[in-house]
């Protein structure tokens, strides 16, 4: 997922694909993040030019949404742990504390070796089988510390 180096011309190519779509800024940002792994600051200028809005507006959109990682490359794997009430009711907080201890990072952090990033998520819609998590897009339910350890080993 991580790729600090990227071809700058890639940004223009992606932007040009979305400029004619009404409301295309979010889809363009999703595509940039999917391709590069995060949203590099260098993307703001071509996005602003492409969509004919100010750089401040683009910055405002990127930073509004929790999903977009502005200049913040993710680890090889991203562990998203649910923090919402249905998972809290079955021990999500203790599980999160365990995950933080085990990985040695806090929410939004990435381990020193670049292997794992830890992100909170507010509900994965797996509320009858919590605590739940998503790892690189794969979902996991009814987790406890040993089950999580196996997944992040």
């Amino acid at each position: 997922m991580v790729s600090a180096a990227f071809d700058p011309s890639l940004l223009n190519k992606i932007v040009s694909r979305f400029v004619d779509m009404p409301g295309g800024l979010l889809p363009a940002l999703h595509e940039i993040q999917k391709t590069i792994g995060h949203v590099p600051r260098a993307a703001i200028k071509p996005l602003a030019q492409g969509f004919n809005i100010t750089e401040a507006e683009v910055f405002g959109v990127v930073t509004f949404y929790h999903d977009f990682r502005l200049d913040r490359p993710a680890g090889t794997h991203v562990l998203k742990l649910c923090r919402a009430e249905a998972c809290q009711a079955v021990g999500a907080e203790a599980l999160a504390a365990h995950a933080k201890r085990k990985l040695g990072i806090d929410w939004h952090g990435t381990t020193g070796d670049g292997a794992w990033s830890l992100e909170p998520v507010f509900c994965l819609g797996l509320c009858a089988c919590g605590p739940s998590a998503m790892i690189d897009g794969e979902v996991h339910a009814r987790l406890d510390a040993p089950a999580l350890d196996k997944l992040i080993a």
Binding site: P22, G23, G24, L25, L26, P27, L29, H30, F51, G60, V61, F64, Y65, H66, D67, F68, A84, E85, A86, C87, Q88, A89, V90, V121, F122, C123, L124, G125, L126, C127, A128, C129, G130, S132, M134, G137, E138, V139, H140, A141, R142
Partner: protein
Amino acid sequence: MKTLRARLPKDAAALALGAETVAAALRKEAAARNFELELARTGSRGMVWLEPLLEIETEEGWRGFGPLSASDVAAVLDGKSAKALGDIGAHPWLKRQTRLIFARSGTVDPASTAGLSFAGLKRAREIGPAAVLDEVTKSGLRGRGGAGFPTGIKWKGAAEAVGAQKYVVCNADEGDSGTFADRMLMEGDPFLLIEGMIVAGFAIGATKGFVYIRSEYPHAIAAMERAIAVARNERLLRPEFDIEIRIGAGSYVCGEETALLESIEGKRGQVRAKPPLPVHRGLFGQPTIINNVLTFAAVPAILEKGAAQYAALGTGRSRGTMPVQLAGDIKFGGLFEAPFGLTLGELVNDIGGGTRSGRPVRAVQVGGPLGAYFPTSLFDTPFDYEAFSARDGLIGHGGIVVFNDSVDMAAQARFAFEFCAIESCSKCTPCRIGSVRGQEVVDRIVKGEKRDDNLALLRELCDTMRGGSLCALGGFVPYPVLSALTHFAEDFTR
């Protein structure tokens, strides 16, 4: 070679509980027995505690097995499984339900229209737009996203509005914890949603629909993308009415209808002041109806069976069925669709079976993170919009989250503020600042600092947020906070 027909959910909850390893084992064991396997990947029946739930066709009909792990599969095929559940369609937990929206989920292929009647859409085209609006109004259907606004009135407003282009927007930004009905419907029966949206477009004169799905739901997004491609291929969707998917980006407030419209427009998901209402000036400034997944999905059955039959279900001003989602620490968790009117206690104890942990139930939060916490002493509250409102709560999107006796209700109240602070769109001051101050005040109360003064301050803050916030995020945070304080005061003073 014997043919083995089977169905196994590809629903996200089933996958999270190991459905893929069961599928792999099934392929392996079937091959070992020289069976030709015809495996349909369906949505879920909604009995989450039984997932992964495998159904196979036998001479006596379809038979279910669950919850399965890979090692259970051989015994299933050899006819000696201890996980045999019999005919799932006749399971008491399903038999007690009245499934209109979820009638097909779990039994049909979400990637195919084969066997689907589209009877609601056909009738809509027979009777014409005005009669469709009339039927939806007479059915008593109210918005299932939480606000409970009468759907027929909203649709009539958009039909009468003048605009160069009208839009039908589906709110599939199901961010409330404890809810998963939208996800299940999109993964299990996406064509029902598509059918409902086509009917809506026909009724109001819109040619374009959007489904805004949260990014946390990749499986629902994939299922909807597949279904829309199939629908286009079969000319169910065509230039006269087409649907486009837009993906959220992790913002809870985008479930608020005007923030959602801003987000589709590619902007920060900030709430708009109303009026103008979206039916007059909505998406890209054009007349727009925005409804929840379940609202659209209720429409085909209303048209097929008639408004009177739908309106005959339910209680008071809450007509029809509600897919209730039983979540948190609950034994029989899942989706239970029934007419309005069951009591909270029936839902949690009789149907839900109490807690999964075996500890006593202490509190249930109904209606998502902005819903009130109810103590067991209020378990006689019937599940309907007005009854919950009368007890300072809300049914929201129908999620019920059960907490056992280990819950710290002061911590839950603090969390409500914390969540609001994280997810506030920051447009209005009561929500942006109030959510931060609220956490601090709860902390001081718990520490025992000037407790009476701070309790009074907390109530005053809640009053300000309720009356002064632009939308339900800041405006409804007082529900969980004050209900925790009212019903569980002891947790704030220990």
